[in-house]
Amino acid sequence: MKHFGALLMKDVRLMVSGKFFLMSLGFLILYTLYVNFGYIRFMDVGMYQVYMYDPEGTQKEASSLVHRVPSEKELEAALLEDDNGVGINASNGKLQVLYSEESKKAGCHKADYAISLLRQSEKYNARIMGIQTPEQKARRDITCELLFFEMIAVGFLGIAAVIFKEKNMGVIRVCAILPVKRNWFLLSKITVFLLSDLVFAILLTLFNVGLSDTAGILPGVLLQTAFLSIIMALSGVICALLLKDFRQFTLAYLLITIFAATPVFMSANTPIKLEWIRFHPFYHIYMGLKNAYFEMSGNSPLYYLGCLIAVGGLFAVTLYIFRREMGKER
């Protein structure tokens, strides 16, 4: 264990000198500011205001949420001022729903909502799923996405930078003649990055999901973070050992981050459905992380088995390439 401790300390010092922790802290601050002062405010759209002109008082069950206006002119004026609002003209005995051109696409939903406010006795209430408020949901959603992006892009880059440094210094060759097990050199790096990612995940979740919600979801989130962190760290080591220099790596990095992240985000967060996405390994990991954030038990034993096989397989490949690198000439 003394040997492993020495390796860990050396890797931490390499990361400190490479300003990796500083970079992670910077990203943590940036994400937190974005979530709390940008994303959540942007997503906080008020509910539709419903304005009604009903001179004869035909709508007796209308909810108190409906704003009654005294004339048709005032109804139009209210809608012109509030693009998001919806109007009801009940002056001819019939209900005529009005909304502005800008909100045409959401018009049907608005109409349904407005009419539902007039029929309070029908008890037509939708079943409420979950216990999270829209803000809580939005916070979990964006935190999950940012954590996934951080692991895919930033962590991957960080470990590759450390390996490139060691390659350039030639010290990987010295590892070959030290009385230490070869796999410890890799394990120490993976451990440092894993711990760093776990701390990052805890802080990011704490600052953006909130203290009360974090406690419940943290074990699941950390488990998924661990899988993703180890897989990305091993992939980063493989790329850094195989590729000649950092310029080549930059190209590979772009390809990996674009192809790993883009289809996953598109499939998971937009109506675009890609048929082949179920074969994309990162899609399953992303969904695993999302399930953890939303406390859903959607991850099958097969998923965990797949993760373990991926970690084991990548570690074996990394060890093989690492041994080969030790025997290379400068």
Binding site: H3, V174, A176, I177, P179
Partner: protein
């Protein structure tokens, strides 16, 4: 200490690098392994230090087959100096040595400060990062890393590379002191001066085969013309005469006023290498 029998090695199917090497290195011997770039000397050293696997033939170190002895105990007994000084550039000399020493039992370790003093390392740089060192200073730290653990067998690859003449003299003196302590040294080099001054025996390797193996003195004597060149002054003129060494037994037979110099016509190790391998070392 080292016994190599019919050692072969190939990179892939077609690229055979070593073609059946046979040699032994005795305890406490400085053995020179001389060859130009691409001759197979680095490959041989990598096999002996356990970095490369998959060789043919037999290699015994410390009396044990190398295929079975790559344990932590084995690596504790050897010290390897690479051709380039591989160190952590962000750490200081002291921190590098502390890091590398942490993998060895404390009883084997020498004092870092004393070792760096012995290697005439500039004290001002002790705590500065290696990235600020000259190549000579890095080589001194690398040598300190190798000697730090009191290894019984040293593999030195171009130890005086990057050193100024006084540094090279210092390194040769340190290697000689190690031998006097009983350490065996396997010296890989194409520096003929190092080989000639340090080695008890040298092997010439070319294209993966050993072309000659003997003491430097024997190699030179066997191929010597046994002639002597004498420079002298006679009647105010500077003259030169080459005579057979045996002629000297009966004294100088030609007239002279003053002998300026007497040089044997013995070939250099470089000449011998060229003669045996048909190639120059550099």
């Amino acid at each position: 200490m080292i016994e190599v029998k019919d050692l072969t090695f190939s990179y892939g199917k077609d690229k055979q690098i070593l073609h059946g090497l046979d040699f032994t290195v005795e305890d406490g011997e400085i053995f020179g392994f001389l060859g130009p770039n691409g001759s197979g000397k680095s490959t041989t050293q990598k096999i002996l230090t356990g970095i490369l696997k998959g060789h043919g033939g037999k290699v015994f170190l410390f009396g044990q087959d190398i295929s079975t002895v790559h344990t932590q105990e084995f690596f504790q007994k050897i010290g390897v100096l690479f051709e380039f000084p591989y160190l952590y550039a962000n750490l200081s000399a002291v921190d590098n040595l502390k890091y590398f020493s942490s993998f060895y039992p404390a009883v084997r370790l020498r004092d870092i400060g004393e070792l760096l003093d012995m290697l005439e390392f500039k004290r001002d740089f002790l705590k500065k990062p290696v990235s600020s060192y000259s190549k000579g200073m890095r080589q001194r730290v690398s040598m300190a890393r190798v000697l730090l653990t009191n290894p019984r067998l040293l593999f030195l690859d171009e130890p005086t590379s990057g050193l100024d003449p006084s540094g090279a003299v210092l390194f040769r003196r340190i290697i000689e002191e190690e031998r006097q302590k009983g350490t065996t040294v396997f010296l890989t080099t194409h520096n003929m001066l190092d080989a000639d001054l340090l080695c008890d025996r040298v092997a010439f390797i070319s294209n993966g085969s050993i072309m000659a193996l003997d003491t430097p003195q024997n190699l030179k004597e066997k191929n010597s013309s046994h002639r002597i060149r004498i420079t002298y002054l006679y009647q105010g003129k500077r003259e030169e005469m080459i005579i057979a060494a045996s002629q000297l037994e009966s004294g100088i037979s030609f007239p002279y006023d003053e002998i300026v110099s007497v040089h044997s016509q013995e070939p250099t190790l470089e000449d011998m290498f060229l003669q045996y391998t048909g190639r120059r070392l550099t």
